[in-house]
Every structure is written in C-alpha cells, then in structure tokens.
Subunit: 301 residues, 2 copies
Amino acid sequence: MKEKDFISIIKQTLNTEYIGDDCAYLKDLGIVVTQDSLVENIHFSLDYFTPYTLGYKSIAVNLSDIAASGAEAKYLTVSLSLPDRIENDFIKEFYKGCKAACQNSAEIVGGDITGSDKIFISVCAIGSTNGRNISSRKNAREGYKIVVSGEHGSSDTGLKLLQDKQNKPQEIINKHLMPQVQIDFGKTIGENVKEPYAMMDTSDGLMDAICAIANESKVQAEIDFDKIPHNPLIEQFDNWQQSVLFGGEDYGLIAAIPEKYSYGTHIGTIKSGSGINLKMNGEILHLSSKDVETRIFNHFS
Amino acid sequence: MKEKDFISIIKQTLNTEYIGDDCAYLKDLGIVVTQDSLVENIHFSLDYFTPYTLGYKSIAVNLSDIAASGAEAKYLTVSLSLPDRIENDFIKEFYKGCKAACQNSAEIVGGDITGSDKIFISVCAIGSTNGRNISSRKNAREGYKIVVSGEHGSSDTGLKLLQDKQNKPQEIINKHLMPQVQIDFGKTIGENVKEPYAMMDTSDGLMDAICAIANESKVQAEIDFDKIPHNPLIEQFDNWQQSVLFGGEDYGLIAAIPEKYSYGTHIGTIKSGSGINLKMNGEILHLSSKDVETRIFNHFS
C-alpha cells in the first residue's frame, strides 16, 4: 500500500490539519476543494471509454467528492495532458461529456493542456458551503445510523464485463462508464443534518468508505449486508457480493448521521469498538482495516 | 499549434465566459483559481531536477498565476501520478520543496496520488481576492504604461546550461530550477491600482505575454528592449537576447497600468494598433502575433 505510506509522509512533511477527507474544507473562504486524477490504462482504457464518457466520468468523480462533503459544487478546472495522436474531435466530445456531467449546475472555468505519452486528466472541483453543514469522516458517533445512497456493485461488475468485451447488460456497464453522482442526497444531508456527521463517497468501495469512517471516528460500524441496495441484474455474475462490498467506483454516498433523521437506506449502526461487524449469510464477520484493505481496489495494482 | 486549436474548441463547446486568463475569477466566491501541470520529460527531467526543486517549482508556477491575477494565494491541492520506482524519500523531499515554495503564506490542503508510467504533477491554486482589484488581459488601454517585475532570460539560459550538463553560473541555473515568484509585485498592483488593468506572468516568455495582452485588449504594445531587466551574466551566451524576449519560465510579471503609477520597471507603452513594436539595436521592428508565435528573432542576428 504505497499510496497510504505516501499520504502519511505527506501529512508529516506538511504538518497540516488538512488532508484526510476527500475535500478540504476552507472555512475562511466558505468553500470546499478536491482534486482527482484519471490516468490512461490505470483508471480507464480507451478500449471501452469514448471521449464523451471519459469526459463525463472525469467530472463526475470530482462532483461526487463535493457531494460527499455536503457542499454545493460550483466550479471545476480541468487539466489535460495528451499524446500527439489526440485529434480535435476527441477534445470536442470529451468536453461535451464534461458539460453533461456538470448538469447545468457546476461550471468548468479553467485548466490547462500539455503534451504527454498517455492521457492524464486531473480535475479540481470547488464547492460552496452555502450555509450547509460540512461532513468529516471523523464525525461518526456511537448510536448514529449508517445510511447509504445509490446502488453498490454495479460499477465493478460493469468493469469486469467491459474487460471481458461483453456489451450487456448495458444498464450495468453504464454504471461504470457514467456513474450517477448522488448530488441530491448530499444536498439533503448538508442542508438538514444539524449535528456533526460523517459522509464519504464509495469511490474505493463501500467497505473501504465505512472502514475509513470507523477508523477516523474511532468507532465500530455494524452493517447488514442484506440491506445494502444493489441492482438484481448483478446477481447472475460470480462473486457479485464481493462487488457490492469491495467494488469501487459506484460513487454512492455513505453517511453516519443521528438516528432521528430518515434519509437514504438504513444499512447499519455505529457502535463502540473498531473495524466493521458485517452481518451476512446468517453470520457476523468482523473485518479489521487490514481485512478491508486487502480486498479493496488499489490504485497501484 | 494544437494547444491553441484545442482551447478554441473547448471555449466553443463549453460556451463559457471563463477560460482566457490564467486564473478564473469567481466573483461570487471572492476567489481566483488556476491549475497547471508538469509532465516528466516534457516540462522537466529528473536528470537535473531533484525531488525538492521539482516540488518547489510545481508550486511556484501556480503561485505565479495567482500573483498575476492580483489576488492573494491561499490554498493549493497537489495531484501526483507516480511510477512504481518512486520511493518514500522522493515524496518527502518533493513535499519539502512544495512547502518551501509556499513561503508560509499559501497552504497545501489536499490532492491525490495515483500510479502511472511517468511522473505527472497537477497543482490547483486558490487565491482570495481580499478586496484587491483582479487583472484581466483584456484590460490594457491606450496610454497605459507597460511595467515588468523580475529579470528575463535567466530561466531559458539556465535550462540550456542544464541540458548541456553545465553547472555554472549557479545563479542562472537556479532561476530555472527554483523561479522566484513575484508575489510582492502582484500584491502591490492588486492592492493599489484602482482602474482596470492587465497583468500576466511570463511563463511562456515575455513577448508571448505582452502579445497576449495586446491581442486580448485590441491594442499595440511598444517595447524598448534596452529597458527589459536581465541578469548581465547571461550576456556571455549566444542568443541571450532571444532568451530575454522569448525564453519561458522566468515567471516575471508584466502589467499594463495607468501612467500615474510608478511600480516595477517601465519598459514600454500601450498604443492603438496591434501586435508589438519592439525598439532594439536602433531599429523598430513590428512583430505580429504570428511572428511572436514563431519566435522570429533572426531579423536581429
């Protein structure tokens, strides 16, 4: 897990209170900011992404981080590094996809273009706090309920189908190519929950997000597998339960909020302790961070 | 010039008022934002950049864009895509360099790390307008004076020396590795000039910046070569005048401001017309945008 080592070195070197949540909350400016990159043949392949879907997804993954903060996405910058082979049409389609992902709310306001051997896309998104309550993964408290928005397992299943050169079910494949960002859920939580709360997107998998919240909040998460929303179409594929739990890039939202609120699908509860207690197939499995880590999508793999 | 074609396609596709200046000015949030990327073997080589100087420069180029807007740099995010060969020490030194470039004013608050074949660095910087007057390259007016901050030609000369495996003059080489961002000059202009004004950094060369201001403001720039500040040490090298005019990465600032202000070194005047009239060696040469783009310097040699 080089990435986690690197992040701990960065935190030490910068000696900063920031870096931990997907968005940095800049209180004095009333904004949150996030930056995420997509690298050709690591995060995507042009074998199955069109320029349009690639543009769409590049924006969506960043809007998802803003939604997870509870803030309102406002502006994005897009930095592209492109090989010589890229033609004008690619750019046009890519930005059409970007624009579609913005859904007439957020706006692309800048960035840069440089050369490179492979396609690198780095997007920065800025959200306005706009009076909303901003999340932190440190904010889960004993007794909070764990709620989730969006279906899980579809993106991972879709990716496997694409890699196997399958083209259906299209509905599942599209969940990988053009994930639906849970903007409304993020807004509902940010606008209505008055107490401190934790929220994350499930970009690296549902279990990874729950585990991060449990670790950072120094609590335990109890989850009932049967309550996790998933598309029944994925049940026909091997290991679909793995995809639901550990598959990345569904870009759902998971939140730990006080019990009195009725938002999203209630899948579990925050308890004292550590790690995750997962109720599944009539058993209760305890998963430590390490257990979760060894199953999750790893950017370096 | 694929980059310029791409930018025009992007503007058309997004149909946006933004994209044009190096920073986007987000009036409702009271901030400016910019994003710039550095790609291994395109923008830098590890043959002569250490992890420390690379970190330093990655931050400096973005702080320079914020300075050019007249705003105050506040926060940065850093996205790194790194090959497997990168070790912990690289990360530590890189972020030490980043932190040094921040000069205890701006702060790094987030970003991400992913894998890749080559090193790809993308930095996003956010500045607060903080009551300052924000520049636009469209704002030069007839009769304005053209002023510059920082020496020109050193970075380009330093790069050539590095590429030739030379190690002195160290002073000139360091101008390429660790450019000094003109933060104080940007602050002075942003805080004191009350009228609309144009300011840019000279990341792509002094002539390129002046030409961009002249084009966007639909005016002509008259420049006196002898007044452009440069380090006398570069005069020992061939074509040093070309480096002063066209060499990139000095990260000086050039501004067109009303005549009454006495900031920076006065090198010319805004007139009616188009392109640049350059006074040099007792002659006056007219340079069109195209001449600047192709660096038509042979006329002088």
